[in-house]
């Protein structure tokens, strides 16, 4: 009995000593994600990918001459209130240097307005795609490693019209993600001469969307475009539309490219379902990320993992460049990936540190794309239309 007490006491003492040692020379970074809530199934691989980037940094010598990057995870639950609560805690209590996340557009906007911009703390979201984020008055603190949905919506509209789909109904989730994407899609689809015969928002978490679907199908379209999450109400809508035969063809945005529909509805029932999604362009960065992430036990095909990795890696570069000064990190983010300077690929931390030390400009080429932030903190991107082949999504056609 005494021995166990002694062991417990010793280990407690040991762990406090560890904490005290590491706290003296650590750079804290907040990882804010939709860990619970509608994208709960997507969030863990994204968090893991961001952690992988920081682990590589720490393995290759750390930041600012040997300091380790320590991550603190916060849960935004994919809604603005939780996002702001979690972000305030990370920024004010944990005193993080910068934030990776939140994942969903709603919390990104709320956190940018009420936490990141007032505190001057940098925020990089790997998956907040709403067009609203572009125009935020964020004092240059907000960046994203994923292209705006304005582009995705328009590219999807052009691709559908080019494939001969001229009459569609649109069901979108009533939040910043859904309405932003749907708005961009609608504008372009109508410009291209297509007809939108039903256009309606819905709330998440309802048990039945059959009435919504009945209203949408009254316009006579046989294609339903769903801008929602495949783990949330998007799945319910897809199921009820299929079961009741309201529509024959289904098109989803990137949120619908989730494994849940395949797992729950069965691939054999989803032959007429396609989803658009950001598409990684082949590059050495993407290869090295895929290899490292697979080796770490992750699935490189999961959505937004490359974007999450990039967000974390570019942030580490910016912290190094800013010399650890919190206030200089936001400006440093665009400086380390603006298309000018010597190219640095994913995982090449040592090389980047040497270049920064030598006072040279660097240009991070990310796994999800070259990044190259514009004045609004946005990046250009490539999209593809994916269909289901076997038990997973396969690229059907690139969109432009």
């Amino acid at each position: 009995m005494k021995l166990t007490h002694l062991v417990v006491a010793a280990s407690l003492f040991g762990s406090t000593a560890l904490v005290a040692n590491s706290a003296a020379a650590d750079v804290k970074v907040g990882l804010l994600g939709g860990i619970s809530g509608p994208i709960a199934a997507m969030a863990p691989p994204m968090i893991d990918a961001a952690k992988l980037a920081f682990a590589q940094v720490n393995e290759q010598g750390g930041v600012l001459g040997g300091q380790k990057i320590v991550t603190v995870v916060g849960d935004s639950a994919c809604n603005p209130q939780n996002g702001v609560d979690a972000a305030s805690k990370l920024v004010n209590v944990e005193q993080v240097t910068a934030l990776v996340g939140p994942h969903c557009s709603g919390p990104v906007i709320a956190v940018a307005n009420s936490v990141a911009a007032p505190a001057g703390v940098a925020l990089i979201t790997p998956s907040g795609t709403s067009p609203e984020i572009t125009g935020l008055d964020d004092k240059g603190t907000v960046y994203r490693t994923v292209p705006s949905d304005d582009y995705q919506g328009r590219a999807l509209a052009r691709t559908l019209v080019a494939q001969g789909t001229k009459n569609v109904a649109v069901a979108y989730l009533n939040n910043d993600y859904g309405s932003g994407l749907a708005g961009a899609f609608k504008a372009e689809f109508e410009t291209q001469g297509g007809k939108i015969s039903g256009y309606a928002a819905h709330e998440e978490g309802k048990a039945s969307y059959r009435t919504n679907l009945a209203e949408l199908s009254r316009g006579g379209a046989d294609t339903l475009v769903i801008f929602d999450y495949g783990d949330g109400s998007g799945l319910t809508i897809l199921r009820q539309a299929l079961e009741n035969g309201f529509f024959t063809n289904f098109v989803g945005g990137d949120g619908m490219k989730s494994d849940a529909p395949i797992k729950e509805l069965g691939a054999e029932n989803l032959t007429t379902f396609v989803a658009s999604s950001p598409m990684g362009e082949a590059s050495s960065s993407l290869d090295s990320f895929n290899k490292a992430f697979t080796a770490a036990g992750g699935s490189a095909d999961a959505i937004f993992v490359a974007n999450s990795y990039d967000a974390a890696f570019v942030l580490a570069l910016a912290i190094e460049k800013a010399g650890g000064d919190k206030a200089k990190v936001p400006a440093a983010i665009s400086a380390v990936s603006d298309g000018k300077g010597e190219a640095v690929a994913a995982g090449e931390w040592k090389k980047a540190v040497e270049l920064i030390k030598a006072g040279k400009e660097i240009d991070y080429k990310g796994a999800a794309g070259d990044l190259n932030f514009d004045a609004n903190g946005d990046v250009p991107g490539a999209y593809g239309l994916f269909s289901i082949d076997g038990e997973s999504f396969k690229l059907q056609t690139p969109m432009n």
Partner: protein, 290 residues
């Protein structure tokens, strides 16, 4: 729009949804009437019941319907346990403290569900079930069973409350706990029995919701407001009122799409709750005044 379309796409989904609300609302109305507080953990207890049934289905491969009684029994035990550990301790304090405690229980239950079953969306059986055609009415088997099971469960409960000794004790406690105590009603055992029934009802409502849609960690929480609206609409403490309230709220939510933009569908429960509190606070069937 033809009458059949109205029935198939608006009224029938409304009735199925209403049946699910009704089973949950009966539980809420019992806690409200007998123990006199708003039980905010009701939705998450329902989620727990739904996932407990899923665990039985995946572990033994039996039909979800056979798993329902097991889940109901398990949830009844959990409800009794929660009462013993948390609510019982707060009985003599102002009721608002118990209400807040139940919010904490809701968060704890949800966390437990997420730890045990994860956050992925699940279903009892994979694939699609297309509806059968009954003289133009399109119904799935599970929808018919959901409505029938709701009436069966509530019917048994009603007979129990009206005819048996323990049912009468519960009603007596609902009318006046002190008087019931003086007349020899064992308040502690009646409370325990109430929680057992409430837990079982929770499991049933979560199971029906999961059967008709999908199982998610937040499924019960999002149902809480319509269930409360249904309980208050029917009259607090009135079992048959909760059934009526549930059906009205379900059908009203679905029919609202005909006149309102669909994003306001979720607000229907709020509107009904506000109207009934303004116009007839005792509810349709003259329940207790809160």
């Amino acid at each position: 729009m033809t009458l059949l379309e109205l029935m198939n796409f608006y009224v029938i989904p409304g009735l199925v949804l209403g049946s699910i609300y009704a089973v949950g609302a009966v539980g809420i109305t019992l806690v409200f009437g007998i123990l006199r507080f708003a039980h905010l953990a009701h939705g998450d207890l329902a989620t727990f019941g739904a996932f407990a049934a899923l665990a039985v289905v995946t572990a033994s491969g039996i039909s979800p319907w056979a798993a329902l009684p097991i889940a109901m029994a398990l949830c009844a035990l959990i409800a009794i346990g929660i009462d013993k550990v948390f609510y019982d301790y707060l009985t003599d304090r102002p009721k608002i403290i118990t209400v807040m405690a139940s919010l904490g229980i809701a968060l704890m239950l949800r966390a437990v569900i997420q730890v045990i079953w994860g956050v992925d969306t699940e279903t009892y059986s994979r694939g699609l079930v297309r509806p059968e055609n009954y003289w133009g009415l399109r119904l799935r088997d599970r929808e018919i069973f959901t409505m029938l099971a709701m009436f069966a469960i509530v019917g048994v409960l009603w007979v129990f409350l009206q005819k048996t000794k323990w049912g009468k004790a519960m009603r007596a406690m609902s009318d006046n706990p002190d008087l019931a105590l003086l007349s020899g009603v064992d308040n502690r055992r009646t409370t325990m029995l109430t929680w057992a029934i409430v837990g079982a009802l929770c499991a049933a409502s979560g199971f029906f919701l999961g059967l008709n849609t999908e199982l998610k960690a937040l499924m019960g929480w999002t149902m809480l407001l319509p269930m409360f609206a249904a309980a208050i609409l029917g009259g607090v403490g009135r079992v048959e009122g909760a059934v009526l309230g549930g059906l009205v709220v379900g059908v009203a939510e679905e029919l609202s799409v005909l006149v309102l933009p669909s994003e306001y569908k979720a607000a229907m429960a709020f509107v009904i709750l506000l109207l009934i509190l303004l116009v007839r606070p005792t509810g349709l069937l003259k329940g207790k005044l809160l």
